[in-house]
Symmetry: C2
Subunit: 354 residues, 2 copies
Amino acid sequence: MSWLDEFGERHGAVVGVLASSLAQVERRFSEQIESDLESVRELCARVERYRGKMLRPSLTMLVGMAANGDEPPRDEHVTLGAVVEMIHVATLVHDDVLDEAEVRRQRPTISKLRGNEAAVILGDYLISSAFHLCSSLNDQRVAMRIGEITTRVCEGELLQLHHRQDRDLDEETYFEIIERKTASLIGVACEQGAAFSGASLELQRAMYDFGVRIGVAFQIQDDLLDLLGVERVVGKSLGKDLEKGKLTLPLIHHLAVADAGRRRESLNLLAGLWRGEIAAESDGRPDGPTVVAELTDVRHEVRLALETTGSIAYAAQTAQRAVSEAKERLQTLPPGDARLLLEDLADAVLSRDR
Amino acid sequence: MSWLDEFGERHGAVVGVLASSLAQVERRFSEQIESDLESVRELCARVERYRGKMLRPSLTMLVGMAANGDEPPRDEHVTLGAVVEMIHVATLVHDDVLDEAEVRRQRPTISKLRGNEAAVILGDYLISSAFHLCSSLNDQRVAMRIGEITTRVCEGELLQLHHRQDRDLDEETYFEIIERKTASLIGVACEQGAAFSGASLELQRAMYDFGVRIGVAFQIQDDLLDLLGVERVVGKSLGKDLEKGKLTLPLIHHLAVADAGRRRESLNLLAGLWRGEIAAESDGRPDGPTVVAELTDVRHEVRLALETTGSIAYAAQTAQRAVSEAKERLQTLPPGDARLLLEDLADAVLSRDR
């Protein structure tokens, strides 16, 4: 796990334990999605490449360690980490169908390579496999929580869909969406990591809150990368939020504080994009609406508009505040090496460029 | 439940108990998918109309009763019935995305009405809700089996997708596909219905086999309706198997036994359809390949071809044999009213026209 390297110097011992636990998570993940059908195996091999930073299992392990005097994670933590990562990968596979994304982790998406149908079923296969693996823990508490949270993730996605191209989307609804669709799964990864270390309900709750705030910061950073990032570095299709009519924090702030003239200009820009007058790339199709600009140009113009109202700084500060609140929650854990690494990890959410 | 009416005369008491249990299943289903978000509630209201014959919960209840001296179903049977129906409805919602179907149960599909994105997430919401409800049973056996079977259903769908437009699809692979994608869920509905009545592992296994054979007969009948049915009666888009390149039993038999000339003609017909030269309806689009025929005409020609090789009769006989085998498995149940109704239900799978 290359991202662990940067922490290696300050957190030697704990990073070593984490790395070996994550290797176990990867094995458990692979074993669970193993199929007797060649055609399924071939798709699963592709999906394994979707695994990236393993943020969620890392949090499960580290919270589990921190709640238990820096003892190594238990076997249940490894299984839980694989369950949460599998659910996460399933949402990525289905998101790429929804977003018509073509690139993910520097590679073509399943939906692009093998069609939306394969991507829909493969996502279902991963969800089913995650629940099957979760049941192997034989623990109703975690099964109920995982079922509750995955339902909540879907609600967040449906709420987001409901507000597509909604120029009047407000901050409150935006936070409702991202807490459900992104942050709640990270929250439960932390909460149940604590639970499997025998933590009190109070500490479990604090760890849920920690994870939710990390998730909020992570999502805001993701939204910023979609606007500001470089596709080659980030490794996935960018500008998708704009194109798909998902208003994110910088734009919501901008539309709320811009003067009337500037607001009208920005809304016109979005309206053109949503009418399909702007192409993701110039594909020279003779039919369809006249393409008057390209998505990269729109991203550039939107960035300029956002600068005029300080909206990028506003979003970055909001993410920073979420990280600070997350780190406060960490103080409820007993002090130790795992907690120190969690603090550094929380900061790293903001500095990532991919 | 209107389909129960026809059984009312012969099976008075048992039909009454079944009807009231199914009403409980419907309530549990609705309560489980209840959301605090208005936009989610609105979609769920639509999906509730997808519930049709409630075949799977009916089998759970009746097997549960038959295995327990015709005692009414227990609360666990009701929950299990709702879980299995919810998984079934989730597969319907996702199938309609895959099939680009426009009509289901006489109404426009979710994917047609609200877009593929809403349909993908709504299906995920239903799968998650089903696993959450299943966890409420606090029974690892059923949770593991449900997780295993939903994974198997996805494998069947992926295998089917892998063999799209495969002119050489053989019967063995066809049965592998339908046992996984359709029959296994019906099997587990019966198996776990028996389990919650305290049945022996041997009886549970026999009930799984019973359900699988019912499922195979059901799927073959579905395939026949796709070729022979009247859309107004069946209540869903027809000809989809042909259009989407899913070879079903009649066609597999036909291509295997037809003489070389007839086989070539049939393959040419399919090749034209798959090249997109045939429209689902004449939509007068100026672009795209030249439409040389309509799907209804192709269905007619395929039917004529199938008649020449007796392939429709062959498929019907195969379904009949599956029903006979299913009824043999019923003999492992203690005799009683619920068992008698199961026998009649098994026959009814073949006579349905929708």
